[in-house]
Symmetry: C2
Subunit: 311 residues, 2 copies
DNA sequence: GTCCAGCCACAACCAGCAGTTGTATCCATA
DNA sequence: TATGGATACAACTGCTGGTTGTGGCTGGAC
């Protein structure tokens, strides 16, 4: 199906005759007639009843019309999403199920009129470069990698400290614990196959391991969170870390447990990054929204790496 | 833009390489390459970064991808709206702003998973013929025209009595009345340019006029409800009838008044019509919904034409 | 009753595009 | 260094989709 054909159909339906639609689209009446005929052949139904005074919609045509309009609107939005100027606000998040996605969902609920596009970049360096180049407008990330401060023209504000929890199956030694001190995890196997070297969150877990003597295995291919949950649920000796706000498709009957970690509670510090000079109007709205809704950060009894604390 | 091209883009994005996408779409790799290149040329942005191991999305490509998927879904829905079997439930209403539209909106809110298409046919005869032919699944109408009973295979249930109100401008003699007896309207000019001869609602107003000696002018072209409201608001001697549930785009500052009519209150009897043997599953759901939400009908002190009372 | 205006469909023709085949190039890996 | 796997470019071809020209139908004016 061709969108020009759909556009022709809508124009003909609006005009009530092929001739006027043809003039509007700057083609001949015969071209409109052929396009409509082809569309009818493709769909297998008659869309217009031709009369000597024009063409009026059949019942099928009436039913099709709103869908055709929606199709054209969707095409318009798709093109707008990559248009150079005045495109939707483009925000980078770590993962589709991360806490940042939750913040963006909240923003969308509060401002449904603002068009958004969400992308996922490799790491904070890539995100910063994309912000500086204008390819994206903002990013939710831990603000910096070890030894690499943010450039001058990038602004940041820490918007959310997400507590890390231990996720275990029902047979795990800690399965029935109401909470577990961080130091007590030293002897347990923690498996995180999704950690990608070179990312700021890999650096986060490196620091966590180094400072508290944990054992995190990142070995093995990452088959996705479903496979991870399956394995953790079935293997008593295995556990994994998970952000408190991570939304999982929780397979029924797995008996997975989320166990808070204490003394200290490791938290993942989500910051909001944007370019000092970005004039996108929706960016200001998003910043204002985050200023209101963002939970407190830097609470007592929590741990973050030194390098992850913004200036 | 061509939907095949969009489909190709999505397939390539999912596969991560052109070759596999080409196999999936049963074309050559070169064709995929050319389609993507054309799409990029049209949009003016690069969607993939080509590598010797495949192609991965650029930031623009990531932003475009969900819109592309939505576009394909919209196309799928558009095609489904006219598909012979298992198409969306297709319901006929008198007008887009009628009470029946309100009922359908309520149904859609209660069952957003059910696909609906709303069409507007000429009159109840056309609607009944469409129901019998299977072109539509149901209709909201006053059940019959004078002297023409419903066919055996059409079922109907009266679902809503909509009170008629008098709509006047601020300068009208009855503008400040809290209500007005029907007989008292005999001397006033009531203007209804939208009434189309041959429809069951034209017959309704004919009966109303005949029984209570009213004067309804249907003369003049119908320029739409906006023009009607403008004229009524500006002309002290003019009033019009309007269903109580009719939603109007109320121009500010017009000072229009809705005045209830009494002794008796004329009500427009919306019935729900469907074919005895229609197996569409959503039809049963809609009937159940209407049975619960439909307001009482046939209240004392109201008037409807004899012929409009279903058997 | 006849004629004309207005609109749509069909036929013939033509250009350009989309697809195929063939080939060059690039890069990671063995 | 050779090779496999991936993309891009070039040349060719068939078909799609446009235009021009023409005919048929119908409703209203005369």
């Amino acid at each position: 199906m061709d969108l020009d054909t759909v556009r022709t159909f809508v124009a003909a339906a609006d005009a009530g005759q092929f001739q006027e639609a043809a003039a509007e689209l700057a083609v001949t009446q015969q071209a409109v007639s052929k396009r409509i005929a082809a569309l009818e052949r493709n769909l297998g139904v008659r869309l217009f009843t031709r009369t000597p005074r024009g063409a009026e919609l059949t019942i099928d045509g009436q039913a099709f019309l709103p869908h055709a309009r929606e199709l054209l609107r969707a095409a318009e939005r798709a093109v707008a999403s990559v248009r150079a100027g005045s495109r939707p606000l483009r925000v980078d998040v770590i993962a589709s199920r991360s806490a940042a996605s939750g913040l963006m969902r909240g923003f969308h609920r509060a401002h449904p009129e603002i068009d958004l596009d969400v992308v996922m970049l490799f790491n904070v360096d890539t995100a910063v470069a994309a912000i500086r180049s204008g390819a994206i407008d903002a990013s939710f990330r831990a603000v910096a990698m070890p030894g690499r401060p943010l450039p001058e023209d990038i602004e940041s504000v820490r918007v959310l400290d997400e507590q890390l929890q231990l996720l275990t199956g029902p047979g795990h030694a800690l399965a029935s614990a109401r909470s577990v001190p961080l130091a007590q995890l030293a002897g347990h196997r923690i498996w995180m196959p999704g950690v990608v070297p070179g990312t700021e969150w890999a650096a986060y877990y490196d620091d966590l391991v180094a400072e508290f003597g944990l054992t995190i295995e990142a070995t093995g291919p990452n088959f996705g969170s479903d496979a991870l949950l399956d394995t953790v649920a079935d293997t008593p000796a295995l556990a994994t870390f998970m952000g408190e706000q991570t939304r999982l498709v929780w397979p029924a009957g797995h008996g997975l447990r989320r166990i808070p970690v204490t003394d200290p509670t490791p938290v993942y510090p989500h910051s909001f990054l944007w370019h000092r000079d970005n004039p996108h109007p929706a960016l200001a709205t998003l910043r204002a929204h985050l200023a209101v809704t963002a939970a407190g950060t830097g609470a007592a009894g929590t741990w973050v790496p030194d390098w992850a604390i913004p200036r």
